[in-house]
């Protein structure tokens, strides 16, 4: 069946079965930027924002979030209009294989929106639910710090 959802500030009709997870529904409807690393809520690759809060979409029934605003990494910024957080990821070298990147970007975005001046410790806690095997996390944390710096220097807010 097809049901309407609110994704990345647009209304979209998604094809789904009633018992499907949000992750499956999104991927089956061409939102392949949401990645599946474990399907058990342990790796964070499938992170999306629900009303601004990061969740593992593999642990959410799609039908239960029809009223919520869903944000994927492309809702933050695209290849053509990247968010400065995404640019920081590339500048810092936080992008190795990139499979965890959509989830990492969203977890970082959510942190910075709530706390634009996080300590290193607060960043580590915020990213604790997102696994990365390539970077050793160092440059990902650098990217978040770099973004926080950009926020302060340019007197910006996360959007």
């Amino acid at each position: 069946m097809k049901l309407p959802f609110k994704i990345n500030n647009k209304s979209k009709n998604l094809e789904l079965f009633p018992n499907e997870t949000l992750l499956n529904v999104l991927r089956n409807n061409d939102f392949t930027e949401v990645k599946c690393g474990c399907n058990e809520g342990e790796c964070g690759s499938c992170t999306v924002l629900l009303d601004g809060k990061p969740v593992n979409s593999c642990q959410v029934l799609a039908m239960s979030v029809q009223e919520k605003e869903i944000t994927t990494v492309k809702g933050i910024g695209t290849l053509y209009t990247p968010h400065f957080l995404q640019k920081s990821f590339v500048e810092a070298g936080a992008d190795q294989c990139g499979f965890c990147s959509p989830g990492m970007v969203l977890a970082s975005y959510s942190l910075l929106k709530e706390n634009p001046k996080p300590t290193r410790e607060e960043i580590l806690v915020a990213l604790d639910g997102n696994l990365c095997r390539c970077t050793g996390y160092v440059k990902i944390v650098d990217a978040v710090e770099m973004t926080a710096q950009k926020l302060q220097t340019n007197n910006l807010e996360m959007e």
Partner: protein, 776 residues
Amino acid sequence: MFKYVNQPIEKIDGLALVTGEEKYTDDFSFNNMLYVSVLHSGYAYAKIIDIDDSEARKMHGVVEILSYKNVNQILYTTAGQGYPEPSPYDTLLFGKTMRFVGDNVCAVAAESKEIADEALKKIKITYKELKPILNLEKSEGSSIIIHKDDGAFPKIPVFYDAKKNIASKVEANVGDFDSAFKKSSRKIELDFYCSYGSHCAIEPHASVSYLDVRGRLVIISTTQVPFHVRRIVSHVAEIPVSKIRVIKPRLGGGFGGKQEILLEPIVALMTWRTKRPAKLVYSRREVFKSTRCRHEYQTKVSVGYEADGTINALHLDALENAGGYGSHALTVLANAGSKTLPLLNKIENLRFTGMGVYTNLPVGGAYRGYGATESYPAYAQAIDMVCEDCGLDIVEYYKKWCIKSGETSAIFQALGEGKEGVAMTIGSTSLVECLDEGAKLSDWYEKRKLYGPNSDFNKGKRLKRGIGMVAMMQGSAIPEIDMASAYIKMNDDGSFNLNVGATDLGTGSDTVLAQIASEVLDTPVESFIVYSSDTDFTPFDTGAYASSTTYLSGQAVRKCAEEIKKQILKVGAEMLSLSIDDVELNDSKVTAKENIKEEVSFAEICQYSLYQKNQFQIQATASHISPKSPPPFAVHFIEIEVDTFTGIIKVLNYVATVDCGTPINPVTAEGQVEGAIVNGLSYTLFENYYFSPHGKMLNDTFGKYGVYTAFDIPPMKVKLIKSYEETGPYGAKSISEININGALPGIANAFYNATGKRLHSGPFAPEYVLKILSEK
């Protein structure tokens, strides 16, 4: 000195990665596609008496089922290595004997994943359970034979004795260990156990296949070795190489785990038989249990030395658990010796003995570190013990005894990959500088004075601190075996297509290779349209393994770009009416040497060559093999705090100094170091496979397995200390593997410095640490 090389250039795929645009294997779907599910054995060792799939075949939506009943029984190795492979041909895609929990029983292709999963439940399998071997030390010569009368054989002439469960055997002798050991006034022995480990690339293994408009089979796959996939699928699925195209899209990490040909033959057969696209994606649990892992190892070092620290004789013995099949069993074993023993090359009497044995446990394979991770803990602790016993500073000791530029080790020739090795003299090394700089960055001398098991700082305290270090080497590519090639052509606007078989698995090699071409052609990295890897459109490359891409594929790219440079200069000279000797490349232009204002741009040159006069395509291809495998070097200094009440080891500081020659891209190179260190730390302190009494892996999820998260990482300092490797592109050597090897021995040595006790088994989990601390 360099313009594009040794610069922190952003990854060319970076923005596409972080905005979710890049496509990975599972992101490709096709109309009319079948979904494949595989049934894996729940028994560690069993014979299948019968498979009855009649009920499953009647199910609506089930299209094809593969098992031993309808798949030809062709022996092969899943190891994606060069041909002929040094791993034994002992594996069947779907056989009648199950040799570990996770072995392939059968596979279903259906209209949906749900139907395929449901159909697996309806297949009735009659097993005859056999008594398994679940302990590597009980395998050799056991009355239980794991590959009995199944025709398993080595593809190359090496020792192999399936009747005794021996998958591989390696021995190398330099000098006379026995008599030198006997004569030595001091002797130590130390054993060390390394656990199983999983690569945990966040992207699980996946393959999608379809037939193109001319009936050729196209396989999109999570592979580090597309050309080996083409060759091995051709062998196993009996489809000509000419009918197969393998595409590697973006890869979500590999670390060796995707150097295995596991899923590709299954989707290939499904598509070949049904003429429909087919997709197989493994669940995380399947990746843990059914794919390949780090071999379990039991190593032992014996050292005979004198009171002044002179080591007369050193013997490293390794017992390797191959698991049910011998993938990489021989070569990982050989590397356990060849990547450690040359480091202290002044030891005159060296011995390496190794044996890989079959068991009914998960199958080992290639994993970053490749034997060196398994052998350094014993080797480097032994060196630490010698220094402790003789009252010598270990940093100074390494400086004195380590291999230097212009020196060699007989081990290089004695230990190869399935055959004799290649004699080699060390060209580049900054190991001594790495030792000095690391000591400085870690406050080594101050902390060694402060800590120690009997120091005021530690004595009687619950929290004890220590600092330890380890020096290491690895290799860069497999000499005289691995080959890489590249193709470049020029386009109208002065841009270039750079097509490489080299496989970027997330490391950034597409960017690094473009930087090398940029440097040769003096034109920005953005001028290169990099395409990797596709067996139809990119030239051959053995693939991403053995720390080879920057060193080997990089040199192929450099040679290819040099060829392009000659052609550009020739056309440029013709356009300027000058001799080729009177022109040079200059910032995307050809200019007269005498007068820089006399110039033609790359765009003008290409347009001239394509459309105007003496037309031809500016294009070139080049191949490269290396006569040697120059080792990168690294030194790790690790400071820890041991909680003697809980057994928890906390890493306070981690310093790594690394010699990778010229870092082509310092940021991605640092990323390789940091990623490897954290993977090594996670393996050292958390990661392990826990088995049921029947050989089933119990902790087959990320959560239970225990991968390090951001919250677990210690403060780290990484410093790249340049050297210049003449045989590498712009002085580069490798960097990807070596830094995973430091955490186990480094922490073990730090633990001794804190507590006065030696660790003998990884991981250093709290319960094990407490056990060691309670021993008298």
